[in-house]
Structures are given as structure tokens and as C-alpha cells.
């Protein structure tokens, strides 16, 4: 029986396999940021250990960093101390770091791919659950906790429990106006926030193959929201074209050797997945969340569900609580939900293609009265590219705030937060209670829906703009 992509990458990284023990896997790339690493470096220090492979390790500052006044000292002393701790640790242990103000700084999951450090067939880890993003390249990429960060720093390996394989096949073509974000939100609603637990998902099918690398990263990024350990997409010509010429991509004969290897990674025809989910792309439409977990979503054309109609008692109770927290009523049309804030950014949708999508929709229009819109590029490189294309001007002419790169309002660790009771349409990945600020209410949306929502002031798709005559 043939092997799946995930099994091939796993098998190629087994350092040690012993009966009754988890496999010890080698880690090809370890990404660090300021939030989940300080206690790990402390552990190394206490044990007198060093970083085994500084040449496979890279750090950036993203979660805490401000998106305004980045030339000044960070105002929040606790955030500043955490970032300074990362800088000190990087210097002490010899880790490459891209600090605020550096041209390569940005969200860790945007920085890795754009540098060409994320490549097919690699194992990639980071103390951040959205590490799944890197699976878009056919890498096996896991989010890990701080103890595991310390483990990788010390040994460049991780003992990993075996995984199950799931194929999510999206057949056919996505309809016009439906993108990667709509697709993954629909997948999560279908399999649930725990449905992927224990699995590595491989996304397959024509609709997946037709996605750009940015779109594939959006899809893999949110695998964790379905509870999966990782998400992957087999590398193909789209992957190779994205990588070719990037700073850390192989060159010359190395490139040929690498591509030959990468081409052999695809799941074999006779491989069997432990679970298969098939989705017809033609049935998908713009998708938004109404609740407080990413599985509580529905097509934009539908309404807030009535909990009474939900059969499972646990789900029913969760829906009831979510609707109350969100300040909605059962049966309310999703399109009727007015927002205060639109956030465009994050490791899910803060890449150049996302910014182009949004700019294309809002160009020549004005932000709805009373709506605040934040556009936060995923990295300095994305920001520079956007400026070179004049997108920053499109955003500011529209009435949006064009900010500096970072995680920003996705999790509100910096000053970019919702006030209590405020409602956002957000291109980020989590709609948990208080995620974007205490008492804040988040609707997860695609960049296209975010743009149309900013124009109309309520949840909307680009197709609604012509109907509304704006």
C-alpha cells in the first residue's frame, strides 16, 4: 500500500523508532517569537544547555509589536520587556532575529515562506498553533508548546505521537467571489472544531490545486481550528514557482535535486486515508461565523441558527451561549449584522494577495459611516510590496488605517483591540470570546467579505455592492 504525503515526510524524519515509544522526529526549521519562547530559553539556561542548531532556527517579533509609532520605544512596559527578552535570548544563544524595524520582520508564518525557508518535505515547528500554515508547501508543520520549544532548541528533535490521516477533497471549481477563506471556514463548520483531532489533514482536489500559494496558506493555517495537528497540500508547479529565486531556496544543481525530491512526495494513488471528507466546490459561497468558535459559521446568505433546532445537547448549549455573547438573535439574517470594525490582516489573510483583493474591491469607494477599518500587512515585505503597488493609498483614500506589520488585532496583545461590545468583521482565524479585546465580538470573514462589509457597514459580499449601488 502506498503512503500519503504526510507519512512520507514523517518517515523521512524519524531519528529513532522504538517499540512502545513515540517516534523521535528531526526538525528542519524552528521558528520563534517573543511570546512562547522566554520560558524555553530560561529552561536551557538553568540546565546549562545550548541551542543545538542555530542554523535551523530563526526568530521574529510579531505578537506584541505595535502597528503605530514603531520608531518609538514600545509604550506598554510588559510588551517591551517581553520583546527585549527575546532580543537578549537571541543574542546570548546566537539565534538570528528580525526585530521591529528590520525589513524581514513580520508575522512568523508570513516571514518563513517569503524568505523561502519553508520548503516541501520539511518538518517545521513553532510555538504557535498557526504553524500549520507552512503545510501549504507540503511541509509537515506543527504548532507546539513552550516545553517543546525548549526541547527543539536543545535537541533539534521532538518525540511525536503517531497521527491519523484525513483527506479533505474539494472537487470542482470555486464559484466566482468564493475564495480560500470561505472554503476553509466551510470545512471547519462541516467537520467541527474537534473533528480533526489526532489527524493530519491533506487538502486535495481541483479547487485546492487551483489555489495560489497565498490561498493554500490560508487553508492550511486554519487546520488547527478544526482541531487537526497539521494541514498539508502536495507541492506542485505552483509551489515551485513561488519558491524559485527566494533568498533561502536552493539554487542551480541543488534546485534540480530538490525539485526532483519534492515531486516524489505526493500521496500515492493506492494510499489509504483514515478518514475522507469530500466537498463540492460549486456548493460553496461566501462564508462567515456567527458564534464564538470557528466551527460556528454559515453561508452569508443564511441566518443565525435557532439553537432549538440543534440536535446535539452540547452543541445546542454552546450555540445558545454564543448567540447571547455575540448579541445576536436566532433567525437574524447574517447580512443584517452591522459591524463597528473591519480588520484585514493576520497570518491567515495578511499576505499581498489578500491586500490586493481588498484594494480591488474598495478602490474608489468610501468606508461606511462609523466603521473603523484597520489594514495590517503580515510583514514588512508585504507592506513594501503593497506600497510599491499603491495599495496603501487605496486604503487610506477609502478611509482605512494603514498600519505597520504584526499580529495586531487578531489577538489584541498590542493596543489594537475591540472595546467591550464592539463587533468586528475580521480576516483573522479565531472568534473566541474576548479574543480581539475584552467583550469584543468577532465574525470571521474572507478578505472579499471584509472589503464589502467595510463599504456597506454590515456583513456583505462584493456582489452586494452593485445591488446596493455603491
Amino acid at each position: 500500500m502506498g503512503r500519503t504525503l504526510a507519512e512520507k515526510v514523517w518517515d523521512a524524519h524519524v531519528v529513532r523508532r522504538a517499540e512502545g515509544e513515540p517516534d523521535l522526529l528531526y526538525i528542519d526549521l524552528h521558528l520563534l517569537h517573543e511570546v512562547t519562547s522566554p520560558q524555553a530559553f530560561d529552561g536551557l539556561r538553568q540546565a546549562g544547555r545550548r541551542v543545538r542548531r542555530t542554523d535551523l532556527t530563526i526568530a521574529t517579533e510579531d505578537h506584541n509589536t505595535p502597528t503605530l509609532d514603531v520608531d518609538k520605544p514600545i509604550a506598554d512596559p510588559v510588551s517591551r520587556a517581553q520583546i527585549e527578552t527575546l532580543r537578549k535570548n537571541a543574542a546570548e544563544f546566537g539565534v538570528r532575529i528580525h526585530s521591529l524595524g528590520d525589513v524581514e520582520q513580520g508575522i512568523v508564518h508570513v516571514v518563513g515562506p517569503q524568505l523561502g525557508l519553508t520548503q516541501p518535505g520539511m518538518t517545521v515547528v513553532c510555538g504557535d498553533s498557526h504553524t500549520a500554515t507552512h503545510g501549504a508547501f507540503g511541509a509537515l508543520a506543527f504548532g507546539i508548546g513552550t516545553s517543546q520549544v525548549e526541547h527543539v532548541l536543545a535537541t533539534q528533535t521532538l518525540p511525536m505521537a503517531p497521527f491519523k490521516t484525513m483527506a479533505v477533497t474539494v472537487e470542482g471549481d470555486l464559484p466566482e467571489g468564493v475564495g480560500a477563506k470561505d472554503l476553509i471556514l466551510a470545512v471547519i463548520a462541516r467537520i467541527g472544531t474537534g473533528g480533526g483531532q489526532g489527524y493530519v489533514i491533506e487538502y486535495r482536489g481541483q479547487a485546492i490545486r487551483n489555489l495560489s500559494m497565498e490561498g493554500r496558506m490560508t487553508v492550511c493555517n486554519m487546520s488547527i481550528e478544526a482541531g487537526a495537528r497539521a494541514g498539508m497540500i502536495a507541492p506542485d508547479e505552483t509551489t515551485f514557482a513561488y519558491l524559485n529565486g527566494r533568498p533561502h531556496a536552493p539554487q542551480g544543481a541543488d534546485w534540480d535535486a530538490a525539485v526532483a525530491y519534492w515531486k516524489g512526495l505526493a500521496t500515492e494513488a493506492d494510499a489509504v486515508f483514515d478518514k475522507e471528507v469530500v466537498i463540492d466546490a460549486a456548493e460553496l459561497s461566501p462564508f462567515v461565523t456567527w458564534g464564538t468558535n470557528p466551527g460556528q459559521g454559515a453561508p452569508l446568505g443564511e441566518s443565525v441558527p435557532d439553537p432549538v433546532a440543534i440536535e446535539d445537547p452540547v452543541e445546542r448549549a454552546a450555540a445558545r451561549k454564543a448567540i447571547a455573547y455575540m448579541g445576536l438573535t436566532a433567525g437574524q439574517k447574517l447580512r443584517d449584522i452591522a459591524v463597528d470594525t473591519v480588520f484585514v490582516g493576520s497570518c491567515t489573510n495578511g499576505r499581498i494577495e489578500d491586500l490586493r483583493e481588498v484594494a480591488g474591491i474598495i478602490k474608489g469607494r468610501k468606508v461606511a459611516d462609523g466603521v473603523r477599518m484597520l489594514v495590517v500587512p503580515g510583514s514588512v515585505r508585504v507592506s513594501l510590496q503593497a506600497v510599491s503597488e499603491g495599495l496603501d493609498k487605496v486604503f487610506t483614500d477609502f478611509g482605512a488605517e494603514w498600519r505597520y506589520a504584526g499580529c495586531s488585532m487578531c489577538l489584541g496583545m498590542n493596543p489594537d483591540q475591540l472595546a467591550p461590545g464592539e463587533r468586528s468583521a475580521s480576516t483573522s482565524n479565531r472568534n473566541f470570546e474576548g479574543r480581539q479585546g475584552k467583550g469584543g465580538r468577532t465574525h470571521l470573514v474572507s478578505p472579499q467579505v471584509a472589503a464589502a462589509t467595510a463599504v456597506l457597514g454590515h456583513l456583505a459580499a462584493p456582489a452586494d455592492l452593485s445591488t446596493a449601488g455603491v
Binding site: H63, T85, H151, I224, A257, A318
Partner: protein, 198 residues
């Protein structure tokens, strides 16, 4: 890591599903650079409600958290484990845990016990009716006992052994350093490096 063999304590019945890590410990607490001092951040938003189960005086000193399914979803923050431990919890029982949270808890010695939702419901009923009711979580026998209830749970032998012995993963891995070095010699030369090797 502190070894876990068997633990008996009173419980907090948390009738919530999908308890995500942003609820367990909100992001603004993650700016701390230590592993302790997170107890006040545990369920911070929910604790503002006086009715919240953790605020009930009879739950003081409880060490066993019994929660709804999909506990620990969301981010990879190990701070969620530290917050539960700093508060005083020794073990969490749920029908399903998010993978990363479960992995983190096993590193830090917070025992996560998976039991069917029906059993969780029985534990809720028992501990809601009698807040002084104790739950025993026995890792040696892989069993949860409370009143009349006896429920076996599964945990892989390796993790159980590590927890029973309180062993540090890094130390265990470094016993096999030669294997790591041998593996490194076989890695393709075209794999990326973040900096030149000095």
C-alpha cells in the same frame, strides 16, 4: 517535572464545551516571561461573573476540573497549563482535548483524562449535588473513582511511565544524541539554513 501517581481532590464541574485557550488564559497574560503567577488570569473573563462556578465558595481548594468536550482548543500557549496548575488543579477530565493542549499538559505533569461524555455528566451531577465529593484519579491503575463511579481511562504506556516517574523529555532524548548526530549526517545539503555555519 513533578511525578503524578494518584490524586484525590474535590472538583469544579465546568459545564462548557469548546473551552478555548483564550478563555483559560487571555492573551494579555502571555506577556509574562515566567512559568508562574498565572493563577489570577485563569478564566479571567468568566470569573468576573459572580455566578461562575470557580467563584462559588464551596469550590475553593478544588483540584480536579471536569469540563465539557473539546477542552483546550485554540492556541498553543502552554500558559494555559501553567494557569491551571498555578491555580491548584492537578488534573482535568473531559471527553475530548485539543491535541496541543493535551501535549502541553503531559509535558508539565497536569494529567488530562479522557472519559466518555456520559461519565463526565455523571461526575458533573455528583459534584454539583455534593461539592465535598472527592474524585480520585489513579494513573497507576488508569482509573477514575468517585462515589459509586469507577471508570477506566486510556493513556499510552510511554506517557504514563513518564508522568509516573516525573521524567524530563529533554533528558530522555539526549540519551540518544548519537542517533541525532547520525541522522544529521544524512540530511540533504540543499536544505535551508537560517545562517551560515560558523
Amino acid at each position: 517535572m513533578e511525578a503524578f501517581t494518584t490524586h484525590t481532590g474535590t472538583a469544579v464541574p465546568l459545564r462548557e464545551s469548546n473551552v478555548d485557550t483564550d478563555q483559560i488564559i487571555p492573551a494579555h497574560w502571555l506577556k509574562k516571561v515566567t512559568r508562574d503567577g498565572f493563577e489570577d488570569g485563569l478564566f479571567e473573563a468568566w470569573r468576573k461573573n459572580p455566578e461562575f462556578v470557580l467563584n462559588q465558595p464551596e469550590r475553593a481548594g478544588a483540584t480536579v476540573l471536569v469540563a465539557g468536550p473539546d477542552f483546550g482548543t485554540g492556541s498553543s500557549r502552554e500558559h494555559a497549563v501553567w494557569a491551571l496548575q498555578n491555580y491548584g488543579f492537578k488534573t482535568v477530565i473531559s471527553a475530548r482535548f485539543a491535541d496541543i493542549f493535551r501535549g502541553n499538559s503531559q509535558k508539565g505533569g497536569l494529567l488530562t483524562v479522557v472519559l466518555p461524555q456520559e461519565t463526565v455528566e455523571r461526575l458533573w451531577a455528583l459534584t454539583e449535588a455534593d461539592p465535598t465529593a472527592e474524585i480520585t484519579v489513579d494513573l497507576v491503575d488508569r482509573q477514575v473513582r468517585a462515589g459509586e463511579l469507577v471508570a477506566d481511562f486510556e493513556i499510552d504506556d510511554y506517557t504514563r511511565w513518564r508522568l509516573l516517574e516525573g521524567l524530563d523529555d529533554i533528558g530522555l532524548t539526549l540519551r540518544h544524541e548519537e542517533d541525532i548526530t547520525s541522522f544529521e549526517a544524512t540530511r540533504p545539503t540543499w536544505l535551508p539554513r537560517t545562517q551560515p555555519v560558523g
